[in-house]
């Protein structure tokens, strides 16, 4: 896993919220979603996903319910709440601005950003 990108603090929560904004998923589904979506570049220990999910449940951004997978296996499905959706919007905006300005600063060379 050494040639993958380290996950910045707070990003995991954001990515989970994004994934769940499309459809309810279980933890394994989230892991696969991140791996495939980033072409294998963003990898987290699977256990970190479950810790993040508990945290997001506590903040009432997601809700969980036991369900059954396509292969008839019991799994805990997570769903985005209205509160979570709002939070995702805010966080995504902040993140984009952050990325934009960090990029600008890095491109600036010696002088001030253009």
């Amino acid at each position: 896993m050494s040639d993958t990108l380290p996950l910045l603090k707070g990003t995991l929560d954001l990515l989970i919220l994004k994934a769940l904004s499309v459809e309810p998923m279980h933890g394994y589904g989230l892991s696969v979603w991140m791996e495939r979506g980033s072409n294998g570049q963003i990898l987290v220990e699977d256990s970190a996903i479950y810790q993040a999910l508990r945290r997001l449940e506590g903040k009432r951004f997601v809700e969980a319910e036991w369900g059954v997978t396509e292969n008839n296996r019991r799994a805990r499905y997570y769903r985005l709440t209205a509160l979570g959706r709002r939070h995702l919007g805010d966080e995504a905006r902040t993140w984009r601005q952050y990325v934009h300005w960090v990029g600008e600063l890095l491109e600036a060379g010696d002088g001030a950003p253009s």
Binding site: S47, Y50, G58
Partner: protein, 248 residues
């Protein structure tokens, strides 16, 4: 009601169900990952190794996820409590607005209930729980007359008391007082006023163990000399003195 049940569930969900939730979820996760890897052509053993490596140290992970779940439940319980309290308050305000008379009636009932309970408690506390404000209160007893054919009377005749006094072999000392309060007229330079008083007879202050702060004690011989002798409380004495003191 549903909210309270949910709250109770959050509080009592407890360790056992949290660790069951975590274990079951981790097992499902590993199984799914292994199944996918096997489907992609890996051997079962290899797939298991991979899945475990991807998950991270299983023991540590379990502990961390469980404690995250505990924090989650605590947090949710707090939020739920705040919500239900707010909801109840809203309902209360709405009910009050829709029928204020009934609400006021309800509040009065509560008020009376609380008042009566307080009175009852104060009574029980003063009479039964808190000791009398005299030295050796456990050695103080009250005596009543008991006629042969009836309940105890809450009073004693003077004659009976004299007989008890004479034949007594149990009590260190005894005194008698009148349960009828008697207003006493007090006169000083400015005029007269009345103060509540009680008639007592016998070694009253000696029996209670209350020494005189000043002046003579109303012993039997002292009373024989001066039948109208009066004992005032320290508070009364101070107040009258304070009122008499000229304003400076």
């Amino acid at each position: 009601m549903k909210a309270y049940r949910r709250l109770a569930h959050l509080i009592w969900r407890g360790r056992k169900s949290r660790s069951r939730e975590t274990d079951e979820e981790i097992d499902a996760h590993l199984e799914m990952r292994i199944a996918d890897l096997v489907a992609a052509g890996m051997s079962e053993d290899e797939a298991r190794r991979w899945a475990l490596a991807r998950f991270g140290d299983l023991r540590k992970a379990r502990r961390r996820i469980r404690s995250a779940a505990k924090r989650r439940d605590r947090r949710l319980a707090r939020v739920e409590l705040a919500h239900s309290v707010r909801r109840d308050l809203r309902v209360a305000v709405r009910r009050f607005r829709s029928s204020p008379a009934r609400a006021v009636f309800g509040i009065c009932i509560f008020g009376v209930g609380i008042g009566l309970t307080t009175v009852m408690f104060t009574f029980v506390d003063n009479v039964l729980v808190r000791p009398l404000p005299f030295p050796g209160p456990e050695r103080l007893v009250a005596l009543f007359s008991v006629p042969e054919d009836g309940p105890a009377f809450p009073w004693v005749s003077m004659g009976n008391w004299y007989d008890w006094q004479r034949d007594n072999r149990t009590l260190e000392s005894s005194a008698i007082y009148s349960s009828q309060p008697r207003d006493v007229t007090v006169r000083d330079e400015d005029g007269a006023f009345t103060a509540p008083g009680v008639s007592v007879f016998g070694a009253f202050f000696e029996t209670l163990g209350m020494p005189m702060v000043a002046g003579r004690a109303p012993t039997e011989s002292a009373v024989a000399d001066d039948p109208d002798m009066v004992v005032v409380s320290e508070a009364f004495w101070r107040n009258v003195r304070a009122e008499r003191r000229p304003a400076t």
